[in-house]
Symmetry: C2
Subunit: 345 residues, 2 copies
């Protein structure tokens, strides 16, 4: 198996910089759209054969160093008992959490019973890949999931979730507790099925001030990281607009911290220190640049990150209008720049 | 006149910490809603008598140290020749910029001829206030306005504007140039009408990576700051999710840099250094906290900011569901905490 990504996550030497792309199994690929045309998003998540096929498509086409399973961070939330719609306008909970009783009515699901299809995706992917590259498991962070559950979908100002934090903090903590108790076995199930590394997406954690992040997010993330590390896999923790929270993210003990594009890679590494790996951080819209400028930006990030403990990625998910050839250019440029870096010093 | 705000902007000593709130003239106030019920948002902007009345409402009710004119950052864009709709779903340009010819077809408007009503709002406000507190003029940053113009409205990933930057940078620069040549006289007009300080809102500048911010935003902001300072007024520069760009924002030469709530106030001041004032930075949702916790957060920010060169504000606009009494509690708490700070150390 190509273990570049796992080695980089553990800050061990590698022959070049490993790379994968958030949302690499997705709409920018015609072969994905062909399958997706047959069934809705949520159904695709629950069809392990097709989901595994979609998962390996970017490995075949782009030559990335890992496969992240095709799924959605809200799958375990549905398993907790919330009706979920995944439409073209983004995820939507028709009955968002409104009262303490709503929170108390949520179940902590048995992962295999309720979300066993996710483990099947991991196993199906491994089979298709013949273990050529590692499979990445993932889930959302408790705060990010709670925000969806309380807001009912995407939000601009996050008023509902923050009102919950500020007006009924004990209810908020009960919700985070239930989520944490759901997410740990959910990730452990993915590891047992063969995921070699996991990523926690705290997409909206950057909406919290540092003190609120410390109170409402950090304890739960820390528990999750520890529980997965005890399972023998490294943990990547990713958020957006969280550059000012980097020292806090590091306190979770995560093996790898994801950076978005708002911070220069070397500045991020300077803040985090040498004892943690980093992932990132090209602006996804940079894939619209002319090829030579795209390559130059890739080289710049590879150089700023250095030889050890860097997993190349975008600073956010790859965008649907992206040209797959640009993604291929990126992957090749990372591998070439990583080799040059290691050859020259 | 109460000159606390102007003194703080120049880092001169004050008796207490000055405070105003972004969007303080707005929907959370019943007296605003009463006037707004009579006419649409955009028409209200163009009725200087009513806009001035709305502008002074928060000064009367809350005792803030400045009045920011009731207007919208997209007013000068409409004056450049773009049809504008300001509906309940946020601003919308039915005919967004799509081609280089669209950009070249924009006019650089004469500010008095096309937007003289904004100067009338400044004058009307001064009269109503009897110059008791200073009037703040404002405009949007070229990048933020361009993003609206190209996307057609709010955006999640800013694909269109970034494609313009990356695929046709020379067209993007022509657009920024036209915007800058529109905005400088637009702000100067407000100063001539009596605005004593101006704020530039770069609401979306945080979407740019540091290198893109340096290429596409910094030069224009710097020109604007300089032109307004030559007119004798201090300049506040505000953006969200821009904490990693603080050293760049400082390079504009702005007198005051606005911070959002994602960074601790003392950390922001440490990064910026003592030779620039700061504004901010309470999370707007903190106004939903129980009163004593709200006051504690206000005191914490006042203390972390220190005695000199701090204008208290929210880290973003006040939210429509906010209780006006909470806003009053905030203002009183800032003034009390600022006095305590100066009395004790």
């Amino acid at each position: 198996m190509n273990e570049r990504l796992l080695k980089a996550a553990r800050r061990e030497p590698t022959d070049t910089t490993p790379v994968w792309l958030m949302r690499q199994a997705g709409r920018y690929l015609p072969e994905y759209r062909a399958i997706r045309a047959q069934l809705p998003f949520l159904e695709l998540c629950k069809r392990p054969d097709l989901a595994a096929e979609v998962t390996v498509q970017p490995v075949r086409r782009l030559g990335v160093d890992a496969a992240i399973i095709f799924s959605d961070i809200l799958i375990p939330v549905e398993a907790m008992g919330m009706e979920l719609e995944l439409g073209d306008k983004g995820p939507h909970f028709p009955h968002p959490l409104r009262t303490p009783a709503d929170v108390d009515g949520l179940r902590v699901p048995d992962p295999v019973e309720r979300t066993g299809f996710v483990a099947e995706v991991v196993r199906g992917t491994r089979k298709l890949l013949e273990d050529s590259v590692p499979v990445i498991g993932f889930c959302g962070a408790p705060f990010t999931l709670a925000a969806y559950m309380v807001e009912g979908g995407g939000s601009k100002s996050y008023i509902q979730i923050k009102r919950l934090l500020f007006e009924q903090p004990e209810v908020a903590h009960r919700l985070f507790e239930k989520l944490t108790r759901t997410l740990i076995p959910y990730l452990q199930m993915q590891v047992e099925a063969g995921a070699r590394i996991v990523q926690i997406f705290d997409s909206w954690g950057g909406e919290l001030s540092p003190r609120d992040f410390v109170e409402f997010s950090l304890p739960y993330l820390t528990r999750m990281v520890k529980a997965l590390q005890e399972k023998g896999v490294p943990v990547i923790l990713f958020g957006t607009a969280m550059s000012t929270h980097l020292p806090l993210l590091k306190r979770t003990g995560a093996d790898v911290i994801g950076l978005d594009w708002r911070i220069e890679m070397d500045e991020g590494r300077r803040i985090l220190g040498p004892d943690v790996a980093v992932q990132g951080n090209l602006d996804p819209t940079a894939l619209f640049l002319p090829r030579e400028q795209l390559v130059e930006r890739v080289q710049d990030i590879v150089r700023r990150a250095g030889k050890v403990g860097h997993i190349f990625n975008l600073g956010h998910g790859i965008l649907p209008p992206t040209d797959p050839d640009a993604a291929k250019t990126l992957v090749d440029a990372v591998h070439a720049a990583g080799r040059t870096l290691r050859a020259t010093g």
